[in-house]
């Protein structure tokens, strides 16, 4: 049984089709890269799977349940977490408190929320995360003052705190300098491998996709135009033209796709 399965997801924004009949399966322990030009429907897909948007048509199955229409917090509790293109951290809290809060809300019962945040067991868990994501040098710094790359890492660490079964990373390296990109992805992927998380990540940098993805999904105009191993997808002429913007790679086929 696939860990995640979507069946015919469709979603419009006005006259724009953000998702057209998106069907896919992701198996346990896969690392899947999602590529596509801006507006191709990558983030819409992530938003539908994590409950931020409800599909107009279609179903989303996670493990053995139908999660279509559930709210983000319900989906989170089931074991699907996400990071954001614009990091959603708590800028006024310290890096360590950001992680402590992410850990302290598991489970989000009144009893658990009443327990002190700065308790030894939680601090130990936060320490592990700090080291795993190489944030330990910044633990006391306010998250709002972190450099962008560190903030991205913190955002992902917060999403991973719950030890989700599936983690969706929305452009983990966007807004990060070229020099830092690879380091950040290496840290993230090493950490997630250690935690045994199935990963879907949206990415614009093809070097990073080729390096980290076992499988690549190419989105174009709300639909999936390629789904295969990175070597195959990144060499596909249609993908090269429509996703990577290399003109004239295969004009006829591109027209046929439209």
């Amino acid at each position: 049984m696939p860990l995640l399965q979507t069946i015919g997801l469709t979603r419009h924004f006005g006259s724009v089709v953000a998702a057209r009949n998106v069907s896919l399966r992701v198996a346990r322990d896969e690392v899947v890269g999602i590529i596509g030009a801006n507006g191709a429907g990558k983030t819409t897909f992530v938003n539908m799977v994590t409950g931020y948007l409800t599909p107009e048509r279609g179903h989303i199955r996670f493990a053995d349940r139908d999660i279509t229409g559930l709210r983000p917090r319900q989906i989170t509790r089931l074991g699907i977490c996400r990071s954001f293109q614009v990091p959603q951290v708590f800028p006024s809290a310290s890096v360590r408190d950001n992680l402590l809060i992410s850990l302290g809300v598991i489970p989000a019962t009144p009893r658990a929320l009443w327990r002190p945040l700065h308790r030894p067991a939680l601090q130990e868990a936060a320490e592990t995360l700090l080291q795993r994501y190489q944030l330990d040098g910044h633990r006391s710094q306010a998250a709002g003052l972190l450099p962008q790359g560190m903030r991205k890492l913190l955002d992902i660490a917060m999403a991973a705190a719950r030890k989700p079964r599936l983690l969706l990373l929305d452009e983990p390296t966007s807004g990060v300098s070229v020099a830092e990109k690879h380091d950040i992805m290496d840290i993230v992927m090493a950490a997630l491998r250690e935690e045994g998380v199935t990963v879907l990540f949206v990415e614009h940098d093809m070097d990073i996709v080729a390096r980290h993805a076992q499988r690549v999904l190419a989105f174009y105009d709300g639909g999936i135009i390629a789904d295969d191993a990175p070597g195959t997808v990144l060499q596909d002429p249609t993908v090269r033209e429509l996703v990577l913007g290399e003109p004239g790679a295969n004009g006829e086929q591109a027209d046929a796709e439209r």
Partner: protein, 315 residues
């Protein structure tokens, strides 16, 4: 961190002892002023919780008034005179109404939250002014209260009420301090920073706000109950918007960095107001206005930031 909260717990218990000892030497007017300051401090303690969530209520007098009227009516209609029971009842009534209205209000933010709170308080004001049964705009007298079955002379009654106020205030401060240390307390700043992330951590933002909104209502109810017993009279002015404004004023004056701040702020406010009213009966609001202006300009984090600065300088 551990030391810090132990200091606060010890400090609050010490404050209770000092307040208790003061009771033996304070003149009657000062004890009365102390009761009023502690009661208002309770309300402001609730506003501190909301403030940390990024919310300002311009209608907290609603729960203050409900606490007060509940005490008055319980005495008048049911012949309930025990001060402790009345305080509990006033708190409970305010909690119940906050639990109901919170279902709606906790869904709003920023100016909409502030205005909706204000609207509900002014609806109650309107109802109270129009209801002849409750004395309309004159209100009615609260029957004298007793303590553990003993009816005390007015002077002793004031002292007993002062002791009750001190115990309730310190108890509430300890509880709120505990709340601020809990994950729930830390989630307040998290909600202010990013509601999206809080939801994606598996937490209901609504429940975080709702719980603290109801707690704030309970604290305001307790403050209103004690005030009504101290003043011996309730009228619609208790829930008027200027009273809510006063609570917000004290919140800004005090700062929201520590649970002791609301009480110190309320005390300072009451002292300044008493003297300003006495020496400048027609311009006391002007004096308060100038004080607020200076605070916002020079101490935007309230009086408590002075304490922090002083402590920081020492270390």
């Amino acid at each position: 961190m551990t030391d810090g909260h132990n200091h606060t717990n010890k400090g609050l218990l010490l404050a209770l002892v000092v307040l208790g000892l003061l009771g033996f030497v304070l003149p009657g007017w000062a004890a009365f002023l102390g009761i009023v300051a502690l009661s208002k401090g309770l309300v402001v303690l609730g506003l501190l919780l909301l403030w940390r969530l990024g919310l300002v209520s311009f209608g907290q007098a609603l729960y203050f008034g409900i606490g007060g009227y509940t005490v008055g009516l319980a005495g008048l209609w049911w012949g309930l005179h025990d001060a402790l029971a009345l305080t509990a009842l006033g708190t409970l009534a305010a909690t119940a109404i906050a639990a109901l209205l919170g279902l709606l209000i906790a869904r709003y933010r920023e100016i909409f939250f502030a205005m909706l709170s204000l609207a509900f308080s002014m609806i109650l004001y309107g109802l109270l002014v129009k209801s002849d049964l409750l004395g309309s705009s004159d209100g009615f007298g609260v029957p004298p209260v007793s303590f553990a079955g003993m009816a005390l002379s007015p002077a002793h009654g004031t002292l007993a009420l002062y002791a009750l106020a001190a115990v309730v205030a310190c108890g509430a401060a300890l509880l709120v301090h505990r709340l601020l240390r809990a994950t729930l307390g830390h989630l307040a700043g998290a909600v202010r920073d990013s509601e999206l992330r809080v939801e994606y951590l598996g937490v209901s933002v609504f429940q975080v706000i709702y719980a603290q909104y109801v707690a704030a209502g309970a604290l305001a109810g307790a403050g209103g109950a004690i005030t009504a017993m101290a003043v011996g009279h309730v009228d619609p002015a208790l829930v008027y918007w200027t009273v809510s404004g006063e609570f917000v004023f004290i919140t800004i004056l005090a700062g929201t960095g520590h649970v002791a701040a609301p009480f110190l702020g309320a005390l300072l406010f009451e002292v300044v107001r008493s003297f300003a009213m006495q020496y400048a009966p027609f311009t006391w609001q002007l004096i308060l206005g100038v004080v607020l202006l200076l605070l916002i300009l020079f101490l935007p984090n309230g009086l408590w930031s002075l304490a922090r600065r002083w402590r920081g300088g020492e270390a």
